[in-house]
């Protein structure tokens, strides 16, 4: 069942963030939300997560499903190391070996037991991505996940994302058209409010 947002409106105070917004995010697809900053992408994500309620409109396809997310601001636990951060969330679902394997594949083999606070921005991001990918979810949201990654690592990571999002409804938020193309994504351009071909 796809995640459907129908005629969602939301305003904060006087500012209208979303006005009659509709979109469909399909299963086993990488759906992409594009649009300039401030166009309401974060609001859409928060509505899907259930943190904010829309003023009007309807969401469906979420109930009973597990959500995973790569936050724009990482949201890692600084006092734990990379492995512990992931097992904090995924510990009940995957073994330590799987976690270590994923971290190695993302190029973090030297930092597995380092406190996350000591890692660079790009490394932290990769840990957050690993965490999101390993979590057994039906819907996975990636909010500008590749921002700040250098070119080399970016493609390794994107590759892994492609691999692990198979079968899930993925919602990718990004500025970069090149990323959307890499994933053959279904693009929802908020600004134009058009839905391109399925």
């Amino acid at each position: 069942m796809p995640v459907k947002l129908e005629h969602i409106s939301k305003k904060f105070g006087d500012k209208i963030v979303l006005s009659d917004f509709s979109a469909e995010f399909k299963d086993d697809t990488i759906n992409c939300i594009m649009g300039p900053s401030g166009s309401g992408k974060t609001t859409i994500i928060n509505i899907i997560l259930g943190i904010i309620q829309p003023d009007s409109g309807k969401i469906s396809g979420i109930s009973g499903k597990r959500l995973s997310i790569v936050f724009q601001d990482d949201r890692l636990l600084n006092w734990l190391n990379a492995k512990e951060n992931i097992s904090f969330v995924c510990g009940n679902y995957v073994t330590d070996d799987v976690i270590i394997d994923m971290l190695e594949r993302l190029g973090l083999s030297g930092s597995i037991n380092e406190a996350v606070s000591k890692l660079s921005g790009g490394m932290k991001r990769r840990v957050a991505i690993a965490r999101a990918l390993l979590y057994p979810a039906d819907i996975i949201i990636l909010d500008e996940p590749f921002k700040g990654l250098d070119e080399e690592t970016k493609y390794i990571v994107m590759d892994k994302v492609k691999e692990y999002t198979k079968g899930k409804c993925s919602i990718l938020v990004t500025h970069e058209k090149s990323e959307a193309d890499y994933f053959d994504a279904d693009i929802t351009n908020i600004y134009l409010q058009t839905v391109l071909t399925e």
Binding site: R75, N78, W79, L80, E84, F88, N113, S117, K118
Partner: protein, 264 residues
């Protein structure tokens, strides 16, 4: 990399020792110049007196009594401080209600508390009460700040991933609060100990450190005065070291690689 760090730590502690030794020499010389036992005794006499006192069982029972009472007050303050901070974080009314009381507790001098408390409280429990009064506002204020500063974004993250409450407590709440708690205790430990002993000197419960200090004073037993003071300092240091060892243990049980950069 690590070897030069440990080397410089070694140098640092030898430096500290050397300067401490220098001060002891100064003390020794001063006591020799004054040569009046009532005014100043030499460090050697103090050490000998401590050794002498340690042979007396009432020495140990006094220490035990004082420590137990004061530590109990400290513990109570911790428990109440945390509970009150929790409620204050949930209710603005409660927080504002408590606010003037906490302010008064923070700004009233210990001596005032002791003298007032003597009227209502049995002198035997005075040190517990005073220790409690001194530590409570510290723990309360720090824990309240800690709770208010818990990163809700992290909690939000944990909720998205449907992490269990127990895990959230162990891996988010406790580590977030630990530095605040640690700060509260590093102040509170010294406070409780010092003010507790002061309470004992005024209230004079039988068989306590404060009573011994008082006796030493009225009988002009200056060596005893110094000896007991040194003992008090030693216990204070042990108390603190023990405490921080416990905090380290907690950190270790949460993560073996607890980030040192992370405050606390």
């Amino acid at each position: 990399m690590t070897t030069s760090i440990t080397k410089s730590k070694y140098r640092q502690s030898t430096r500290k020792l050397l300067f401490a030794a220098l001060w002891i020499c100064i003390w020794q010389i001063a006591s020799m110049l004054i040569s009046q036992e009532i005014l100043l005794v030499s460090p050697v006499v103090v050490v000998i007196r401590i050794i002498g006192l340690s042979g007396d069982p009432s020495f140990w029972s006094s220490i035990f009594n004082s420590f137990l009472r004061i530590f109990f007050g400290f513990l109570l303050a911790n428990v109440f401080g945390v509970i009150l901070a929790f409620f204050s974080s949930k209710s603005a009314f409660f927080k504002d209600f408590l606010s003037p009381v906490i302010s008064i507790m923070k700004s009233t001098p210990v001596a005032s508390f002791i003298i007032l408390a003597l009227v209502w409280i049995n002198s035997a429990y005075l040190s517990t009460f005073i220790s409690f009064l001194m530590v409570l506002p510290v723990v309360y204020t720090n824990m309240l700040a800690g709770i208010e500063n818990i990163d809700s974004k992290l909690i939000n993250m944990a909720d998205v991933f449907k992490v269990s409450a127990a895990k959230k407590i162990k891996y988010i709440y406790i580590p977030s609060l630990l530095p605040y708690y640690s700060a509260a205790c590093s102040i509170g430990l010294g406070f409780s100990w010092k003010s507790g002993i002061a309470a004992e000197v005024i209230g004079l419960p039988q068989n306590t450190i404060g009573f011994s200090l008082y006796s030493a004073k009225i009988f002009l037993e200056t060596p005893d005065l110094f000896a007991w003071t040194v003992v008090i300092i030693i216990i204070s240091v042990i108390f603190e070291k023990m405490f921080f060892a416990i905090i380290k243990l907690i950190k270790f049980s949460i993560s073996k690689d607890w980030g040192e950069d992370y405050a606390g």
